[in-house]
C-alpha cells in the first residue's frame, strides 16, 4: 500500500488534493469556532450580568486540577506536532510512536476530567440533577455558571474522544506503512484537529477555573 503516489481520481495533482484537504480542515475548524462560540457568547453575556456568581462558581473548580489538565494537553500537542514532523520525514515508526503518546496523554486528560466530574457528582454540584451542594448566595446564577462549566467541558471532552478515535485510526494506517514523505495528508489533517481542540481548552481554562482565583 506504500505506493499511493497517485492522487484521488478527481484531482489533477497531489498538490491540489493536499491543498483541498487542508483547506477543508481549516474550513471545518472555522465552523467549530462558531459552534463553541455560540456557548461562549452565552457564557460572556451571563458573566456580565452576574459577575459575583461567576466568581463563586469558578471557586467550585480546582485550579490545580485545571492547570494539570492544561499541561497534559499541551504535552499531547507537542507529541502531535512531532508525529506530523515524523510524517513529513516519512518515518512511519516514529509516527506510530508519537501518536501512541499523544493518544495516551489525551486519555490521561479525559481521566482527569472524569475525576473532576466525579468530584462534582459526589458534592452534589450537578445542576439539573442535584445542586444541593452549593448553598451560598446567588444560588441560581451559580448553578448557571456550573451549567456552562459542564456544557463547555463536555463539548470539549466529546471532541477529545473523537480526536482519540481519529488518531487511533491514523496510527493504524501508519503501522501499515500507508504514509510517505509525499503522501501523509491525513496525519497533518488529524494534527490540525487535535491542536484546535487543545486551543479550545486553552480558553476554557481561564474562563472556568481562574475567574475567582484571586479571592
Amino acid at each position: 500500500m506504500s505506493s499511493h503516489v497517485y492522487p484521488a481520481p478527481h484531482f489533477r495533482s497531489f498538490e491540489q488534493q493536499h491543498e483541498a484537504s487542508e483547506l477543508g480542515m481549516w474550513g471545518f475548524l472555522c465552523t467549530e469556532i462558531l459552534f463553541f462560540g455560540g456557548v461562549l457568547c452565552g457564557y460572556t453575556m451571563y458573566r456580565l450580568l452576574y459577575p459575583q456568581a461567576w466568581v463563586h462558581g469558578s471557586e467550585l473548580n480546582s485550579l490545580w486540577l485545571g492547570a494539570a489538565m492544561t499541561v497534559v494537553l499541551l504535552a499531547s500537542s507537542l507529541t502531535m506536532a512531532l508525529a506530523v514532523r515524523a510524517a513529513q520525514l516519512g518515518q512511519s515508526k516514529a509516527i506510530v510512536g508519537f501518536l501512541a503518546v499523544t493518544i495516551a496523554l489525551g486519555i490521561g486528560f479525559l481521566v482527569l476530567k472524569g475525576y473532576e466530574y466525579y468530584g462534582h457528582w459526589v458534592h452534589h454540584l450537578v445542576p439539573g440533577f442535584n445542586f444541593s451542594g452549593y448553598q451560598a448566595p446567588d444560588h441560581p446564577q451559580v448553578a448557571l455558571f456550573v451549567v456552562f462549566y459542564f456544557f463547555l467541558t463536555l463539548l470539549h471532552a466529546v471532541h477529545m474522544i473523537v480526536g482519540v478515535g481519529v488518531l487511533s485510526v491514523i496510527a493504524m494506517m501508519a503501522r501499515r506503512d500507508r504514509f510517505s514523505a509525499i503522501d501523509h495528508g491525513p496525519v497533518e489533517i488529524a494534527g490540525l484537529y487535535w491542536h484546535f481542540v487543545d486551543i479550545v481548552w486553552l480558553f476554557l481554562f481561564p474562563l472556568l477555573y481562574l475567574v475567582g482565583a484571586h479571592q
Binding site: 481520481p9 478527481h10 484531482f11 489533477r12 491540489q16 491543498e19 483541498a20 484537504s21 483547506l23 477543508g24 474550513g27 471545518f28 472555522c30 465552523t31 467549530e32 462558531l34 459552534f35 463553541f36 462560540g37 455560540g38 456557548v39 457568547c41 452565552g42 453575556m45 451571563y46 450580568l49 452576574y50 456568581a53 445542576p127 439539573g128 440533577f129 441560581p140 446564577q141 448553578a143 448557571l144 451549567v147 456552562f148 456544557f151
Partner: protein, 542 residues
C-alpha cells in the same frame, strides 16, 4: 427500462445516467450528478409535503371560525410547514440540486473536492428530514419553526426534541455541502478560470456556502442548548433560573437571518445566468453583481436584530440593526438594476426559464421593498408578527427563490436529463404560478397592516374577504406546481433528446454532452476568455 423505442433509438453515448443501473450505483454513488438527482427527488418530496401543510392552513383560514382543523392541529401544521419548507426545501434546494450538479462542471472539474462527504451529506439530510417529518406521526410539534423559548423548552408538551434532533442532523448536511463548494471553487478551478471569469452562479453559490459554513454551527449549538434546557431544565434560557429567553432569539437569528440569504442568494445566481443567456448578452456590471453577492453574504450577519425590534431588545441596538438592515438593500438593488441593464440591447427570447426570470425580478423587487418597510423601525413595530411579515417572507422565498429554482430547473433540465421539456406546458405553468402567487400573498400585506397577527387560527370577520382571495390564489399556485412535476417526469423518459447546448449559452457545463459523461469532461477544459462572451454587434454603440 423496457422501453419499446429503446431499440429504434440510436445507442445512447455513455453518460452518468446509464453508467450502472443497480441500486448500489445510485445509493452508494459518489458522482456529484447522481447525488444531485437523489437530492432532486427527496427535495421535491419535501416540497410537496410542505405544500400539503400550506394548503391545509389556507383552507382552514377560508373562514374566520376554526372548522377544518382544531387549534392544536393547526399549530402543528404550520410548524411542520415552516420546518419542512425552511430546512428541507428552501435551504438545500438550489445548492444541493443545481449546485451539486453544476459547481464541478462550471469550474471544469470531475467532481467536488470531497465526493464521499457529498454522499454523506445526502444521507444526513435524509435522516434529518425523516426524523423531523416523523415527529408529526408521533404527535407533532406546536412551537412554530422558530422554537422560541420558554415555550419550546418548558410549556410545549409536544415532540420538540425529536424535531430539533432532525434539524440538528440536517445542519451537518448543510455544513458539509457548504465546505465542499468552497473548497471546490478555491482549489479545483480549471486552468485559466480566474475568479472574475467565474459564472455568477458560482459567485452566489460561493457566498451562500460562506453563510452555510459560518452560520449553521450556531444553529446546531443553539438547538443543543434548547434540547438540554428542555430535557434537564438547566436554566440557560429560563428566566426563573436566571436565564434570558432573548439569548435564544439572538443565537437563533444569528443563524436564521443569514439563512434567509442562504435561501435567496443561489436564486440571484440562477437569475443572472438566465437573464444573460436569454438576452444573449453579457451580464451588465459583472463585477458589481459578483461583489454584491459577497456583500449580501457578509451583511446578512449584521442585521439579525431586526427580528427583535419589539422583543425586549435594547432600543439603541435596535437603531443599529435598523440602519444595517437598510444597507443590505443596496447590493440587492445593484443586482436588480444590472439585470435590467442586461436586458437593454439584448436579443431577448421568452422560453420558460426566461419567463421565470422576468417574474423573478418583479416579485423579488416587491419582496425587497416590503423588506424595507420592516427595516423601518416605526412601521415594523406595527407590522411585525403580522401577515405583513408572512407576505414579505413569501415574496422573497416563493416569489424569489422558488421561481428562480423552477427557472433554473427548466434551464438546466436538458443538461440534467438529456431531454427537452414541453415548452408550451412550461410557459402555462409559469403564468399560473405568477398569477396564483400574487393572488395568494398580495392580500396578506393588507391583512398585516390591518393588524391580523400571524399564526392565528381564528380571526376577526373583517379579514375574511382578503383571506378568501389568498386561499383562492393558493389553489391556482398548487396547480402551477403540480404541472411541472408531471411534464418534467414525463420528459425525463420520453422528451425529445436535447442537444449539447440548446440555449446557445456560454458556461463550461454547456460544452460537454447532455447528459454529461460521468467524468464530466473528456479532458480538463482550458478557459481563455471571460464568461458570458456572446457575439455582439459592434456598429451600434450607445
Amino acid at each position: 427500462m423496457t422501453n419499446p423505442e429503446w431499440i429504434t433509438e440510436p445507442l445512447a453515448p455513455p453518460s452518468y445516467l446509464n453508467n450502472g443501473y443497480g441500486w448500489r450505483s445510485w445509493f452508494l454513488t459518489t458522482d456529484h450528478k447522481r447525488i444531485a438527482l437523489l437530492y432532486l427527488i427527496s427535495i421535491t418530496g419535501f416540497f410537496f409535503l410542505g405544500g400539503f401543510f400550506a394548503m391545509m392552513i389556507r383552507l382552514e383560514l377560508l373562514t374566520p371560525q376554526p372548522d377544518l382543523l382544531q387549534s392544536d392541529t393547526y399549530n402543528r401544521f404550520f410548524t411542520m410547514h415552516g420546518v419542512i419548507m425552511v430546512w428541507f426545501f428552501l435551504i438545500p434546494s438550489i445548492p444541493t440540486v443545481l449546485g451539486n450538479f453544476l459547481v464541478p462542471m462550471m469550474v471544469g472539474a470531475k467532481d467536488l473536492a470531497f465526493p464521499r462527504l457529498n454522499l454523506l451529506s445526502w444521507y444526513l439530510f435524509m435522516i434529518g428530514g425523516i426524523l423531523a417529518f416523523s415527529s408529526i406521526v408521533i404527535g407533532g410539534v406546536d412551537t412554530g419553526w422558530t422554537f422560541y423559548t420558554p415555550y419550546s423548552t418548558t410549556y410545549s408538551n409536544t415532540h420538540v426534541l425529536w424535531m430539533a434532533l432532525g434539524i440538528f442532523i440536517a445542519g451537518f448536511s448543510s455544513i458539509i455541502t457548504g465546505l465542499n463548494f468552497i473548497i471546490t471553487i478555491h482549489t479545483m478551478r480549471a486552468p485559466g478560470l480566474t475568479w472574475f471569469r467565474l459564472p455568477l452562479f458560482l459567485w452566489s453559490t460561493y457566498s451562500t456556502s460562506l453563510i452555510l459554513v459560518l452560520a449553521t454551527p450556531v444553529l446546531a449549538i443553539t438547538l443543543v442548548l434548547m434540547g438540554l434546557e428542555r430535557a434537564f431544565g438547566i436554566g440557560i434560557f429560563d428566566p426563573a433560573l436566571g436565564g434570558d429567553p432573548l439569548l435564544f432569539q439572538h443565537l437563533f437569528w444569528f443563524y436564521s437571518h443569514p439563512a434567509v440569504y442562504i435561501m435567496i442568494l443561489p436564486g440571484l445566481g440562477v437569475e443572472s445566468e438566465l437573464i444573460s443567456t436569454f438576452s444573449r448578452r453579457n451580464v451588465f456590471g459583472y463585477r458589481y453583481v459578483a461583489m454584491a453577492s459577497v456583500a449580501i453574504a457578509v451583511f446578512s450577519f449584521l442585521v439579525w436584530g431586526h427580528h427583535l425590534f419589539v422583543a425586549g431588545q435594547s432600543v439603541y441596538i435596535a437603531l443599529a440593526f435598523s440602519f444595517l438592515s437598510y444597507l443590505i438593500a443596496i447590493p440587492s438593488a445593484i443586482k436588480i438594476f444590472n439585470w435590467m441593464a442586461t436586458l437593454y440591447g439584448g436579443s431577448i427570447s421568452f422560453e420558460t426559464p426566461m419567463l421565470y426570470a422576468l417574474f423573478f425580478i418583479g416579485l423579488f423587487t416587491i419582496g425587497g421593498l416590503t423588506g424595507l418597510f420592516l427595516a423601518a423601525l416605526g412601521i415594523d413595530v406595527h407590522v411585525t408578527d403580522t401577515y405583513f411579515v408572512v407576505a414579505h417572507f413569501h415574496y422573497i422565498m416563493v416569489g424569489g427563490m422558488v421561481v428562480a429554482y423552477l427557472g433554473g430547473m427548466h434551464y438546466w433540465w436538458p443538461k440534467i436529463s438529456g431531454r427537452m421539456y414541453p415548452e408550451r406546458f412550461g410557459q402555462v405553468s409559469a403564468f399560473l404560478i405568477f398569477i396564483g402567487f400574487n393572488l395568494t400573498f398580495f392580500p396578506q400585506f393588507i391583512l398585516g397592516y390591518l393588524g391580523m397577527p400571524r399564526r392565528y387560527h381564528a380571526y376577526a370577520e373583517g379579514f375574511q374577504t382578503l383571506n378568501v382571495m389568498s386561499t383562492a390564489g393558493a389553489s391556482i399556485l398548487a396547480v402551477g406546481y403540480v404541472l411541472p412535476l408531471f411534464y418534467l417526469a414525463w420528459s425525463f423518459f420520453r422528451g425529445p433528446l436535447a442537444p449539447t447546448n440548446p440555449w446557445g449559452a456560454t458556461g463550461l457545463e454547456w460544452k460537454t454532452a447532455s447528459p454529461p459523461p460521468t467524468e464530466n469532461f473528456e479532458e480538463t477544459p482550458v478557459v481563455t476568455e471571460e464568461t458570458y462572451r456572446f457575439p455582439v454587434r459592434e456598429e451600434m454603440l450607445v
